[in-house]
């Protein structure tokens, strides 16, 4: 149940100068990395995780949340200025952001992106604060069988991330799950797939997998494609009218319904694991255009277009934490990385989290609030600076990032074995991407694997061979039914639709 003392204690834990500085550093780092096309907050978070190893759980996770939130704001900057989204989430922002820049109003465009991003983010955080404690109370009543059903439900939901081939997606999830079985088995503690390497007794290191598959693979790919140095992609015009350099209150207020609608769309989609923020941004943009009195102005530098996309994509980040904190389900790759940070600090996200670590969770809520305010302040003063970041050469950024990954994993795993594993998984990730196998599904499968096996073992013990006993667990049955429905809804249905579209296109061309 809700305990005010715990909530206040958690919030007081969060509001310290030390945490404030860490969150601010995270926001600055996130905005900086987000502004670099091709990098993004996921890479920054993956690299930062091992460095948070030496911190306490609250500052560590608060810092990562700062990076994630900062990255969402930063990603809009290159989308607006050079028509290249810094992160995939900001792809829809280019639709109206870049045309506004071409009209000679780059600062107006970036500021609209900043304000609507903060608005959407704050909206979803409020929903998170109010909904997740209630959901956690329900989640607490779940036994091993319900948890297992929840795991099956989680796997069915990630079918929405498999891409255009169900066979490849399922194979990716299965192999991710297989990799999670390396190490001691949860019941008898017998070693599996150790190959004489004693470091593997604890399983494959989470940080090695996360960094290798998400960061190092991308770094190697970028290094291999570089042939020289980067030149400045954009110059901000020095002489802009005052009204073109800012967003007036009247302009902001005129976008209130657009932002509210976008935030609601982003929050709802973000709370459903498996759906990404770019889907929310495009959906919000389409709705804003349909409901606008002047739909023709969209795509030509309408600030409502920027407001719709940025409010939606930023509201996904807070909403993603709802399934993560209450059920232990990572909604997207950023949430999966936050889960790994929890696990590195010995905390298991899931139904018991509010009960066992209530103070930490409310501290986290405090950190989320701080991150929003700091995001606004940093963005307000840093936009011109981040625009210059786009000029930094990739040769410097990626070679330094490579070294950071090596140092980070060395620190987290305490030796070079973890670093070698990181590089091996980077190559696996590169090959998987080249052949169209979903790396995200693999990583989420790996993260969920350990809990999946444990809950399966416990469920089998509870049933003790009498499988009819499952009928006494209506919640588990409901979750299994939901799993079947969501596998169809997120996995098979979109695939059928895209096949249908493909056939129609082929028929039209022939």
């Amino acid at each position: 149940m809700f305990d005010l003392n715990v909530a206040l204690a958690g919030l007081s834990d969060a509001f310290t100068l030390y945490n404030l500085l860490l969150v601010w550093f995270g926001v600055v780092l996130g905005q900086f990395v987000g502004a670099m096309p091709g990098t993004g907050p996921v890479m920054a978070m993956a690299i930062a995780i091992p460095f948070t190893f030496t911190l306490n759980p609250l500052p560590a996770i608060a810092f990562l949340i700062g990076v994630n939130k900062g990255g969402l704001v930063g990603g809009a900057i290159p989308a607006v200025l050079i028509n290249t989204p810094g992160t995939p989430d900001a792809a829809a922002t280019t639709l109206d952001g870049y045309p506004l820049t071409k009209k000679g109003k780059p600062e107006k465009a970036t500021k609209m992106a900043l304000y609507s991003s903060i608005t959407g983010d704050a909206f979803s955080d409020v929903v998170l604060f109010t909904v997740s404690p209630l959901l956690a109370v329900v989640a607490l009543k779940m036994g091993p069988l319900e948890i297992f059903a929840l795991m099956v439900f989680a796997f069915s939901i990630i079918s929405g991330l498999v891409g255009d081939s169900m066979a490849k997606g399922i194979a990716s999830a299965a192999l991710g799950l297989f990799c999670a079985t390396v190490g001691l088995d949860p019941e008898a503690s017998t070693p599996r797939f150790i190959f004489g390497i004693f470091e593997l007794y604890d399983g494959l290191p989470l940080v090695s997998i996360a960094l290798g598959m998400l960061a190092v693979a991308e770094i190697l790919r970028r290094l291999s494609s570089m042939r020289g140095k980067i030149t400045a992609a954009v110059e901000l015009p020095r002489t802009q009218k005052k009204e073109d350099r800012r967003i007036s209150w009247a302009e902001y207020w005129s976008c209130r319904y657009t932002m509210l609608r976008g935030s609601a769309i982003g929050t709802i989609l973000g709370a459903i694991p498996g759906l990404d923020s770019s889907a929310a941004a495009f959906m919000s943009y389409a709705t804003a255009k349909q409901t606008s009195k002047d739909p023709d102005s969209f795509g030509k530098g309408n600030i409502h277009g920027i407001a719709a996309t940025e409010a939606a994509n930023s509201s996904v980040s807070g909403a993603n934490l709802i399934p993560l904190l209450t059920l232990g389900l990572p909604g997207n790759i950023a949430a999966a990385l936050i889960i790994s940070a929890f696990m590195i600090h010995g905390i298991q996200p899931g139904p018991l989290l509010f009960h066992e670590q209530g103070q930490l969770i409310y501290g986290l809520f405090g950190a989320l609030m701080m991150a929003n305010i700091l995001n606004l302040i940093t963005g307000q003063f840093g936009l011109r600076l981040w625009a210059k970041v786009i000029k930094a050469p990739e040769s410097f950024i990626f070679s330094t990032a490579l070294l950071l990954c090596i140092v980070g994993v060395y620190m987290a795993t305490g030796g070079l074995t973890g670093v070698v594993i990181m590089f091996i998984f980077a190559i696996i990730s590169y090959l998987m991407t080249a052949f169209g196998y979903s790396v995200i599904v693999f990583v989420i499968g790996f993260f969920l694997g350990e809990r999946f096996e444990l809950s399966l073992t416990q469920s089998l013990s509870v049933l003790d061979g009498n499988y009819a006993l499952i009928l006494d667990h209506p919640v588990a049955l409901g979750l299994f039914a939901l799993a079947i429905a969501s596998a169809y809804w997120f996995g098979f249905r979109p695939m059928k639709k895209s096949k249908g579209k493909q056939q129609t296109a082929e028929e039209t061309t022939s």
Binding site: G163, D164, A171, A174, L223, S224, S399, V407, A434
Partner: protein
Amino acid sequence: MILNRISGLVVVALGLLLILYIIPNHTEIDEFSTLAPSTLPYITASIALIMGLVQLIFPSGKAEFNPGPALRVGFYFLLSLAGLYMMNLIGFRIAAPLLILIVMILIGERRPLWLISGIIVMPLVMWYAVEVLLNWPLP
């Protein structure tokens, strides 16, 4: 289409390798377990094998594999492993700047300021932050 079939074949081969050799030889038998240590590995490997077969027979999805970039990725992978070996041999303070120097030169960076930033400043900052401030030993 061919690439999709090849990837299916690789997954089938991997599944067979896991089921026929790796799982039986690298898991132990525990008679008292509710769930044998090898059960989940067998299930996941079998699923991968079946999906590989599906991909082999009914190829689907996008696949784009260019040998040129892949070879360059392989080269940077080997270079990084060589860098790790050197770090183990002669230590981070010498091997890290050397690795960064080679990487930056290979990708075409020639500007002295950026080279100095990458080769000297960043490894120094990392070394100072980790070894001196965090008191965490580097190789």
